[in-house]
Amino acid sequence: MNDIAILKATGFTGGDVMTIFIMQALVIGLIGGALGIAIGYGVSLIIDSVPFVTEALPTVTTYPINYDPFYYVTAVIFALVSTFLAGYLPARKAQKLDPVDIIREQ
């Protein structure tokens, strides 16, 4: 919130602040989502090579992993939505306030 007060005090409009926060949120969401997928996929590969032998499932020799792309898509969407909200909600609140209201809140 401090950053919002600084930007508004130096002449940025509520709309500018909103744009900056949403852009920042989406970049963090994209980087976070991509890292999450890379690490998740890497760990899945390691687990996939772990021996897993059971008489109930004769065809299975290693730990079974489901690589359905649906899970990866869901993960990225979840990352984007949560970071978007984390940027959007405070920015929307700040948009309607005078800079002094943000300064006084602290």
Binding site: N2, D3, A5, I6, L7, K8, A9, T10, G11, F12, T13, G14, G15, D16, D98, P99, V100, D101, I103
Partner: protein, 224 residues
């Protein structure tokens, strides 16, 4: 000549916890190039007045004119561009963006104004930093500087768009006497040489005595 800043009967109320009139019929003028300090006890309304004068607070009654233009009728976005172009504000606690370099912090208001290209803005930011004697810190992160240096960066940022008025809410309040002295000398020099008006809220009587005029406040009134 028309004053750079003028108020007509500005009053303000705080509504919580009970309705309370914090400013009572404030009518003041600030001349071009004038260096004025506002003094008064804590709670007398001096910071509240400064935030109204800087257009950062729009919840008041009465009229505010900056450079002849009536601020009371403008939208929030129009006020933002007035702050960007005509007013440089210095807070008590420097308020820099900590994860950006000193240079970027100074450049930010100019990037918003968009009057110059980025190379020119950078050159101008370095000039402002050198006026403040801290051009050697330009590429450090803002969070790595000392208090006195941070306050000088905040002044450089306030100067970047060549504003008509510099306003300060106790800009030396958080500094030791040596740094406070430096900051005062810089403001004095700017008002003498660069055609800027200064409006500085302060507790420090020694500081106030060396300005052109003291506006004294008590319980929401102007005393003289």
């Amino acid at each position: 000549m028309q004053p750079i800043l003028e108020t007509k009967n500005i009053s303000k109320y705080f509504l919580y916890p009970v309705k309370f009139q914090v400013l009572k019929d404030i009518s003041i003028q600030l001349k071009r190039k004038e260096f004025v300090s506002i003094m008064g006890k804590s709670g007398c309304g001096k910071s509240t007045l400064l935030y109204i004068l800087s257009t950062m607070d729009t919840a008041y009654e009465g009229e505010l004119f900056i450079d002849g233009q009536n601020m009371s009728q403008l939208t929030r976005n129009e006020l933002a561009s007035i702050r960007n172009e005509k007013i440089g504000f210095v807070f008590q606690f420097h308020y820099l963006l900590p994860e950006f370099s000193v240079l970027k912090n100074v450049m930010i208001p100019a990037l918003k104004l968009g009057k110059y290209n980025i190379d020119t803005i950078q050159k101008r930011a370095l000039e402002k930093l050198s006026i403040l004697g801290i051009e050697d810190q330009a590429h450090k992160k803002a969070s790595k500087l000392f208090g006195g240096q941070k306050q000088r960066v905040a002044i450089a940022r306030a100067l970047i768009n060549d504003p008509k008025i510099i306003m300060g809410d106790e800009p030396t309040g958080n500094l030791d006497s040596k740094n406070a002295e430096t900051v005062f000398d810089i403001l004095r020099k700017l008002s003498d040489e660069m055609n800027m008006s200064m409006l500085i809220v302060t507790h420090d009587l020694d500081f106030a005595k060396r300005t052109d005029r003291i506006i004294e406040m008590e319980d929401g009134y102007i005393l003289k």
